[in-house]
Amino acid sequence: MQISPEHPPGFPVLRRYFDAELETLRSHLILMGETAIQQVRDALRALVEGNIHLAEQVRAADDRLDELEVKIDDEGVRFMSLRSPVASDLRLVIVGMKTGHDLERVGDEATSIAKRAIKLAAEPPLKPYIDIPRMANIALEMLRDALDCLLQGDEAKAIAVCKRDAEVDDLNRQLYRELTSYMVEKPDTISRAIELMFISKSLERIADHATNVAEETIFLMRGKDVRHTVEVKKTPPPAA
C-alpha cells in the first residue's frame, strides 16, 4: 500500500519500529477483503445452484470475518493508544477500522443471502436468475475495485467506484418493481419474491459498503472527507 508520500532526495526517512504493526493491520484488511468477496461469491453460487451445503458453509464462515473485524479494531485502538499516530498513520488506522466494519457487514449480507438461498432451494425457482447475478457481479466488481484502490492508493478508481453505486441502486429498484408485479399477479409467489427482494437489497447494501470503502480510500489518500459531496455523487439513473 503506497500511503506515505515520496520524499525529496537526501531527506532522511526512517523505517520505524512500529511500522510492522501497520503492516499487520493492512494484511488483516486484505485477508478480510478477500474473505468477504469469497463469501458473497459463494452465497450467490449457492443461490443460483440451489446448493444448500455451500450456503451452510457461507453461514459458518461468517465467524471468521467477525473475528477479523474485532482483531482490526483491537489493533487500531492499541496503535492509537500506544503510538499516538498523526497524519497518514492516523488516517490509515481510522480507515482500517471503518473498512473492517464495512467488510464485516458485507459478510453479514452474504450470510443473509445464504440463509435465503437455503429457503429458496426448497421451492421451484420463481424466475431464471439473471438480474440478481448481474447485480452481484457489479457489487463484487465495486468491492474488488474499492479494495484494490485502498491497497494501491488509486483515487481516480475510487471515485469511479462511488459513481457506480447508482447502477446497483437502479437494478435493485427495477427488480423490486418486477417482483411486486409477480406478487400481485400470483399470490403463491409472495414468499419466494420476498426472499428475492431481500437478496436484492443485500446486494444493494454490499455495493453501498464498497462505496464506503472507496470514500474512505479517498480520505486516506487526500485527508479530505468526500462523503456526500458532488465529487462522489451517484450518477442519476438513466431515464426509463
Binding site: 506515505s4 526512517l14 523505517r15 499516530p85 497524519a87 497518514s88
Partner: protein, 287 residues
C-alpha cells in the same frame, strides 16, 4: 493594558502594549468577521552566527491571541527563530540577521528601538526553570518590575498576586511567598518563571521547550496555563513534543535545516500536512 508605550522609549513602570502603527490594524482585529490581528510580521528573515547561516529566508505571520508552535529536529533553527522575536539572539557574539520583523507594525530592529523594551514586551520562558536562587518567591516575581524602578508597594502587591494567579501558582504559594524560589518543585519553579515574565505585562510570551524538564502532571498544568493565557497574550512555543504542539497550539511552523518547511493550522499540520517532510517529521519517520 490600555495606555500605549513605544518600543523606542524606556518607561520603567508598567507595561502597556507597544504603540501599533496605523498599518497594523490594531487590536480590533479580533472582532468577528475580521482577519486575525497580526502580532509578528516576519519577512525574509535570515540569521547568521558568524559565517554560519542558522535561518534562511523565513517569512511568516504570528497572530495575536493564538498559540504558535515551532517544531523541528535539533539544530533546525527553532530557538534561533524565537530568539529573534525579542532580539535575544543579538546577545550571541557574531550574530546578525537580514530581513525584517515587525511587531504590530513596528520594525523591531529599527535603529531607534530599544532591545530591553522589546524584551520586556516580548517575554521569554526557558527550557530549564531559572528562578533567582537567592530571591524569595515574591522577589522572583517582582524582580523585573523592581529593576524597572517600580517602588509603589500597592502596585507591587497587586502585580504579585495577579501574576501568580495568571500562572496558576497563587493558591500553592500564597502562604509561603517569603520562601526561596528554588524551594519549589520543578513544575512550580517553571510556573514561577512564567509569573515573573507576566509581571512586567508583556504582550507576547515566548516559551522555549517549557515542559521538557517536567513530569507529566507538571506538564499538564503548564499546558492548561498556556491555554488560559491565550486570551490575553500571544504565545510562541518551541517544543520537541509533537503531542504537546498538537494539543496546545493553533498554528504550527515546521523548520528543517534552518528553513521554514511548512506553516499552517495545527490541525492541518498534524492531520494532513502539505509537505512530505512535515508528514515524515510529525509521524516520526524522520531520521
Amino acid at each position: 493594558m490600555s495606555a500605549a508605550e513605544s518600543i523606542t522609549t524606556r518607561r520603567p513602570t508598567t507595561r502597556p502594549p507597544i504603540e501599533a502603527s496605523p498599518a497594523a490594524g490594531g487590536p480590533s482585529g479580533r472582532a468577528e468577521g475580521l482577519p486575525p490581528e497580526v502580532t509578528f510580521d516576519i519577512r525574509e528573515l535570515s540569521v547568521f552566527y558568524g559565517a554560519s547561516p542558522a535561518l534562511h529566508n523565513v517569512t511568516l505571520q504570528i497572530h495575536a491571541h493564538e498559540v504558535t508552535a515551532v517544531i523541528g529536529p535539533s539544530g533546525c533553527g527553532k530557538s534561533t527563530f524565537i530568539r529573534t522575536l525579542n532580539r535575544m539572539h543579538e546577545l550571541t557574539p557574531g550574530a546578525r540577521h537580514t530581513g525584517s520583523i515587525r511587531l504590530r507594525g513596528r520594525d523591531l530592529y529599527a535603529p531607534d528601538v530599544d532591545p530591553t523594551i522589546v524584551r520586556r514586551q516580548v517575554g521569554m520562558v526557558f527550557q530549564k526553570s531559572n528562578p533567582f536562587p537567592t530571591l524569595s518567591i515574591a522577589e522572583n516575581v517582582l524582580v523585573g518590575l523592581r529593576l524597572n524602578g517600580v517602588r509603589d508597594r500597592d502596585l507591587l502587591r497587586q502585580r504579585l498576586e495577579e501574576s501568580l494567579r495568571m500562572a496558576a501558582l497563587w493558591d500553592e504559594v500564597k502562604d509561603i511567598l517569603g520562601r526561596p524560589g528554588i524551594s519549589l518543585s520543578g513544575g512550580q519553579q517553571q510556573r514561577l518563571c512564567i509569573a515573573r515574565a507576566l509581571a512586567v505585562r508583556p504582550e507576547v510570551l515566548l516559551m522555549d521547550e517549557p515542559c521538557s524538564a517536567l513530569d507529566p502532571l507538571a506538564t499538564a498544568r503548564i499546558e492548561e496555563l498556556i491555554n488560559s493565557l491565550r486570551a490575553s497574550y500571544t504565545l510562541v512555543i518551541v517544543t520537541h513534543n509533537m503531542q504537546q504542539a498538537a494539543r496546545v497550539s493553533d498554528r504550527t511552523a515546521f523548520f528543517y535545516l534552518g528553513r521554514l518547511v511548512e506553516y499552517d493550522a495545527t490541525r492541518t499540520i498534524f492531520m494532513n500536512p502539505a509537505n512530505p517532510q512535515t508528514e515524515a517529521y510529525v509521524s516520526g519517520r524522520f531520521g
